[in-house]
């Protein structure tokens, strides 16, 4: 279900989260490494890392918000499907390039995510073209979820 809130955005929606991701070496593809104060934040950061590989974020404005849902059978599947839904949001109508992601439901028992995606339609000319992401992979995927060390990290290889 997409809900478009043109003008319905509130001030807080324009606060840009800090960058907590990096790109690691892989021969043919790229490995996303994201982290956060919670696993939920690490997931959000991982999604933003993927979008930042497609364009330069400085050129992206928050103009609309769409909501996506992802469901899976296990935690790795959830990360995979979450990213796949985001890629789909970019690849078809509304062609959304996201600057900010806020997961509103993060259920690690039934493996379900609901996420608000803030950004605008990708426009050649306005947004510099980066690299195209073909697919998300399970290749060397790692999810580090260690509350006692306050350590939350994810590693995902995207096929480009």
């Amino acid at each position: 279900m997409d809900e478009e809130l043109e003008g319905g955005l509130v001030e807080d929606d324009f606060i840009i989260p800090p960058v907590k991701y990096e790109y690691l070496d892989h021969t043919a593809d790229v490995q996303l490494h994201a982290w956060g104060n919670t696993l939920k934040e690490a997931f959000e950061q991982c999604g933003m890392a993927m979008f930042a590989y497609m364009t330069e974020m400085d050129y992206v404005q928050i103009k609309e918000v769409h909501t996506i849902e992802a469901n899976a059978d296990d935690l790795m599947g959830l990360l995979y499907h979450f990213l796949d839904e985001l890629l789909f949001l970019f690849s078809v109508e509304p062609f959304l390039i996201c600057k900010k992601l806020v997961i509103t439901e993060f259920n690690t028992e039934e493996f379900r995510i609901v996420c608000k995606c803030y950004g605008e339609e990708f426009q050649i000319g306005k947004h510099p073209q980066g690299t195209e992401v073909k697919a998300i992979t399970y290749s060397a995927m790692q999810i580090i979820d260690q509350p006692k060390d306050n350590k939350y990290e994810v590693f995902v290889i995207i096929d480009i």
Binding site: H26, D29, T55, S91, T131, A135, A140, F155, D159
Partner: protein, 506 residues
């Protein structure tokens, strides 16, 4: 994965001639057949370095080296002959890139694997010739490059300009290049010079998810990003005058256009969907593999058949895609030279697929067998007189198109009888990456890369100039090493060398 010291690992590898290494059984668990890979001295070093790096103790977040992946493929059910690594081999998803493997369709346990095809189904190369000479193009080279760039949508987020609705897409998926012909985008003779005549007959669009179709629709007739490109090239060297003549390449300096692209988001989604389905099928049929990424299903299972039918639809999408760009290229040339594309003799020399699985007949131990041949980053290279190659090339062998990295040369090869017996009629597909993208970004400067191309006299139009270093020649293996290895090993034969004068890319 078996963890051993590097010198222990080397005991399983044996150099059987200057261009070929054998991977013995036991290198990875459960190998049904041996592995083999083709390298010269330079490429051998890259291959073994990759293995040595993976043997370091305490490695985390790493990935399997290509040589291990070739061995894991040799452990898949139903594999026959050998698991083959071509000279441009490097680590990929499940299968190595530059890996081919054939499975006996009469064995009920034989499998099909989307990882053995790749995400970009029917990614391939098409070569168009012209009757122009380099000196005809030089004065208007910049305008021509710009015109090509303006005609062909390139780069991430670009949308196709060929009018297309959901119903057209269904027809295109089923008909492949027959659709392009019916709609007037290609010439009838283009089909003749295409693998499968540009249409896989077992395509079934009803097996394809709505998600894939939605991703495919806006992207039909787009080049894509990454290593995809359109290049204006000139004939630089002719090694085999007869074969080159059959392709209409008669003289040095003759201008040709090379298009390297695939099935775009459509194929990527078909592969993604199939991987999810196959995880389930593997559990049900208790198919054991060495690496979770080698998701596969029995050829005769519902999942296996559904994948082959939707893969065929994606292959058709890719042919329509390359055909649409052929149309746009002809338009751009026609406008610049104020001549009809016919009068410029802009025929398709050939169109190869280097990410695909096909049912083919091969002779094994003196018996004719029907096999499912996976080629991932590997090009079919059928010998002279093979029934599946066009009449025009019956005497030369199938043309094999090898695209180089940006700014380096490309090659046209032909298939050989030795290749037919040794590698199921398969050869390399390109340069193959040597540096990771992240490392290229760190070590190279995009401005220097662009200046260097300019100094070489190459016009460049690129959608994302700041990423151009990822595709710089330094990031790749040397395509000449790769091609020379194939030639020396006898699995294909050098025919023509091409040099770029203009590059259009994402």
């Amino acid at each position: 994965m078996v963890v051993r010291q590097y010198n222990e690992e080397l005991k399983y590898l044996e150099k059987i001639n200057p261009y070929c290494w054998k991977i013995k059984k036991g290198f990875q668990p459960n190998m049904n057949v041996e592995g083999v890979f083709y390298v010269n001295n330079t490429l051998e070093k890259l291959m073994l370095d990759e293995l040595r790096n993976s043997c370091r103790p305490g490695m985390t977040g790493g990935f399997l080296p290509g040589v291990k992946q070739i061995a894991n493929v040799a452990a898949l059910p139903g594999i026959v002959g050998k698991s083959v690594g071509l000279p441009d081999v490097h680590s990929g998803y499940g299968f190595a890139i530059g890996n081919m493997a054939a499975f006996d369709t009469s064995d009920p346990t034989s499998i099909v694997s989307p990882g053995g095809v790749g995400f970009d189904i029917n990614c391939g190369v098409r070569l168009l010739r012209t009757n122009l000479h380099e000196k005809d193009v030089q004065p208007i080279k910049e305008q021509l490059a710009q015109s090509l760039f303006d005609h062909i949508p390139v780069g991430v987020g670009s949308k196709g300009i060929i009018p297309m609705n959901a119903r057209d897409l269904e027809e295109a998926l089923e008909m492949g290049m027959d659709w392009s012909l019916r709609e007037g985008y290609v010439w009838a003779e283009d089909k003749e010079h295409c693998e499968e005549y540009g249409r896989m007959l077992n395509a079934d669009p009803s097996k394809v998810s709505l998600r894939a179709k939605k991703r495919g629709l806006p992207q039909l007739g787009t080049l894509g990003a990454g290593n995809h490109y359109a290049e204006i090239q000139v004939v630089d060297e002719i090694y085999d005058k007869f074969a080159a003549g059959k392709m209409g390449l008669e003289r040095l300096g003759q201008v040709v256009v090379m298009i390297h692209s695939g099935s775009r988001g459509f194929g990527h989604q078909v592969a993604t969907d199939a991987l999810v389905q196959m995880e389930k099928a593997m559990k049900r049929d208790q198919i054991a593999v060495n690496d979770r990424q080698l998701a596969c299903a029995r050829i005769n299972s519902v999942e296996g058949q559904n994948y082959l039918k939707s893969m065929a639809a994606a292959a058709n999408f890719a042919w329509v895609n390359r055909s649409s760009m052929t149309f746009l290229t002809r338009q751009a040339f026609g406008k610049q030279f104020k001549m009809a594309p016919d009068d410029l003799d802009m025929h398709v020399i050939y169109d190869v697929s280097h990410n695909v699985a096909k049912i083919e007949e091969h002779v094994i131990d003196g018996k004719l067998k029907t096999l499912l041949v996976h080629r991932k980053g590997s090009t079919r290279a059928f010998p002279p007189h093979h029934p599946l190659i066009p009449v025009d090339y019956q005497l030369t062998g199938q043309p094999v198109l090898i695209g180089g990295s940006m700014g380096t040369c490309s090659y046209v090869l032909t298939g050989t009888h030795q290749g037919m017996t040794e590698t199921f009629g398969s050869t390399c597909h390109g340069a193959g990456r040597a540096l990771s993208r992240a490392k290229s970004r760190r070590n190279l400067d995009y401005k220097e890369v662009l200046v260097k191309l300019e100094e070489m006299g190459i016009s460049i139009r690129v959608a994302s100039p700041k990423l151009v270093m990822e595709e710089a020649p330094e990031s790749y293996k040397n395509v000449t090493d790769v091609v020379n290895t194939c030639h020396a090993a006898g699995i294909s034969k050098k025919t023509v060398k091409l040099r770029p004068i203009a590059v259009i890319k994402g």
